[in-house]
Structures are given as C-alpha cells and as structure tokens.
Symmetry: C2
Subunit: 193 residues, 2 copies
DNA sequence: TATTTATTTCGAAAACAATCGAATTAAATA
DNA sequence: TATTTAATTCGATTGTTTTCGAAATAAATA
C-alpha cells in the first residue's frame, strides 16, 4: 500500500490556482458573481473550458454555483479562500507535507555505496558527512554500558576494514567512542543502539 | 503585442508549489538545509529531477544555494515564503489578477448575437440580462439634454426593430428613457453616451 | 595534473493538463 | 409537448511538465 502524504488539500489548492485562466476566474468572481457564458466571453475562451476550470475550483470548495433560470451563477467562496490562505501560514502545515518520507534514506544509500555485501567497509569516504554515517555504522558494533580493551576495539574495527588506527582515531574524535587518558579502556558514547 | 497580466509573480508562486515533489522539497528544507543528493535519496527520485525542481523554486526566490566543498547546500528562504503567503491575503492582490481583461466583452458578444450587420435588432432576447444590453444599445441612439416627441421616439426605435411599443415600454421601465405623465415628451435618462 | 565527485544541462520519453467543438443533459419558454 | 437555451460531459488534439539517463561542468582530492 502506498503511503499517502497528509498534504493533499494543500497540493490541490496550489494546483487549482496554478493556471492563468483559473486565477483570472477567481479574480473576476471576487468582483461579482457571474454565469459561465459571461466568464467565457470576458476570458475569451470556450464555455466548456470555463466549465472545466470551474469544476476544478469547485472541487476544493473555492467557488459554488446557484441555479437561476437558464443560468448557473458562480460565486467565490471568500471565506474558504481566506481560510486556505491562512492555513498556508500555519505552523503545522509544512511538517505535514513531509509526513511519510524516510529521513534515513540518505544514510542507507551511503551505507549501500560503501559497504561490501558481507558488511565490511569496502572503501572509506573522504567526505565528512559520509564518513560520519560509516562511523555510526561501526559504532553499532559496540555495546553500551561496558568497556573494551584496545585489543578488542581493534578486533571489531579490523573485521570491517584494515585501516584500524585511522578509524579508531576518527571514532574517538567524532565522539562515537570514549577513551581513558592512558588508553587502557574504550567505551561507546553515542549512537542509536 | 500581447497584453501581459499584472499577476505573474502570483501565478509563478502557485505553479512553483503545484507539484507534489516540490512541495515536499519545501517541507524538507523547512526542517534543515540539505544537498541535492540527500534530497534525491529521501524523495526517491533522480538528482537531475531534484535539481530541476530546485531551479524552479530558486527562480522565484523560495530557496537559495550555498556551495560547500563538493556540495550545493540548499536552504529555504523562510522570509520569502512568509512574504508570499502574506501577499495572497492582501487586498490588492486579486484585483491585479483581472487587469487587462475587458469586462464589456460579454455585452459586445450579446450585441453581436442579436444585431444584424446593418445595426438593426434582428431578434429581441427574452432573457433579462440580454434584453438589458439591447436596451442600452437603443438608448445610445438618443441624445442627452433634450426631449423627444413620441413620434420621434417611435421613428428611432422603428429604424431598429418593428416591435416599437414593446421596446418603448421596456426602455421606460428599465429607466433608459424618462416620460411626461401625459406622454407629451420623452428624454434619455441613463447610459454611457 | 588526472581523477573523483556532486551538480547542472541536455535531449528524449512518458504523463498530464488545457482547450475546442460536438453531443448530451436539464431547465425554461412557446 | 416541442423548442430554445445554458451548462456539462465527451473525445480528440495540442501544448506543457515531469522524469530519466547521458553528457558537460565545476570543484576537490590523489
């Protein structure tokens, strides 16, 4: 099942107003209500096209129609327009737009690029952002709430990549591992377990 | 020369935000700045497509880029977004949208439909709105600031359509012509000259 | 200096949207 | 009831937009 974004109304609103003729329709109806025929004459497009545009505006509640004799008289729902415009400014609107997206997708892509199929680190990235992701991956091989000897640390790192001392230094300077001043013990500091 | 609407910025704004992926980009950048690669991974679309979308957002000043090493780091121009959203609500925004449109286009179309090539009234509309337009057309054949005898009135109307008494009555009841109680004089009341 | 890397630009394919005129529907008048 | 009228729906066409992968660009590293 496809995860559907929470922001459909917002997108529909922008789509509805992202056409020059529809924007003009809203502008005209803001002045006074009007029939399809009249709008078509002023916009110089066919009545069927106006009808199509009005149905899009009507779908999101921005205009409504009233029958009067032969005519369908359309009017702008001013309150609705104001409500929608206001909600653009609301704090909670933008966060909803990104619901359903996975912020870890980039980290996963980096791991995929730098790890061998067996989980070893095939190549060490020079780039800072990417190195950070790889260091986080190494850190996960360490448990919280215990200490490791340097020999144990080297064994864990060495199973992943031959550049043991370089990676050990990086892990400490990036604060993934803590270390006794005399080098007698190491322990895991941060990461997500 | 094509008359250009005054509302280009408004239309560009809506167009820019009328795509689901661009809306998500804005949502992501609202949380934190990010590189093209990172955005592409999270949205699960190609980097070139992200680049294309960012250039559209950047054209209207909604995002900006900063170079950092290999990366172009994009950030949301929060102030600009707020400014644009605010201007949607501004009084003067909607009227600008309809600038350059001719509100008399509908009247002209009605005249075209009901007048013969020589200017005579080929057919009298039953519809109220349309009849009004035709009456306005007849009224223009009368001068302001003088009176007409019934004979003169009949001659002017008769040159346009044989239903003289019907049209004369309509002109008076729609207040295009004034009339002495005893019917001895008629004069033009409203219209645009 | 040659190579690697992220981004942008380009060109083509596919998806989408606007538009028109004709056919249909619904409502008013003759 | 048949006709006229305005609006909507339909089908086809045209134009625009999104998207991708490949090629070009620009910037950092080896």
């Amino acid at each position: 099942m496809k995860i559907k974004s929470q922001s459909e109304p917002l997108l529909s609103f922008f789509k509805a107003l992202s056409d020059a003729n529809r924007l003009k329709l809203v502008g005209l109806l803001a002045q006074k209500e009007a029939s399809v025929e009249e709008l078509a004459a002023v916009l110089e497009i066919s009545a069927s096209t106006v009808s199509h545009h009005l149905s899009i505006l009507s779908d999101i509640g921005l205009v409504s129609a009233r029958v009067d004799g032969y005519y369908n008289i359309y009017r702008l729902e001013t309150d609705e327009l104001e409500r929608m415009a206001q909600s653009l400014l609301a704090q909670e609107t933008l966060p909803e737009v990104v619901e359903g997206l996975d912020p870890k997708a980039y980290d996963r892509k980096i791991l995929k690029d730098y790890l061998a199929p067996d989980g070893a680190i095939a190549k060490i990235p020079t780039n800072h952002r990417k190195l950070e992701v790889i260091l986080g991956y190494i850190a996960e091989k360490f448990e919280f709430n215990r200490t490791y000897t340097e020999k144990e640390v080297n064994a864990i790192i060495g199973a992943l990549n031959p550049d043991i001392s370089g990676l050990r230094r990086d892990l400490i300077s990036a604060k993934y591992l803590g270390r006794e001043k005399d080098g007698s013990a190491y322990w895991r500091v941060k990461g997500e377990g």
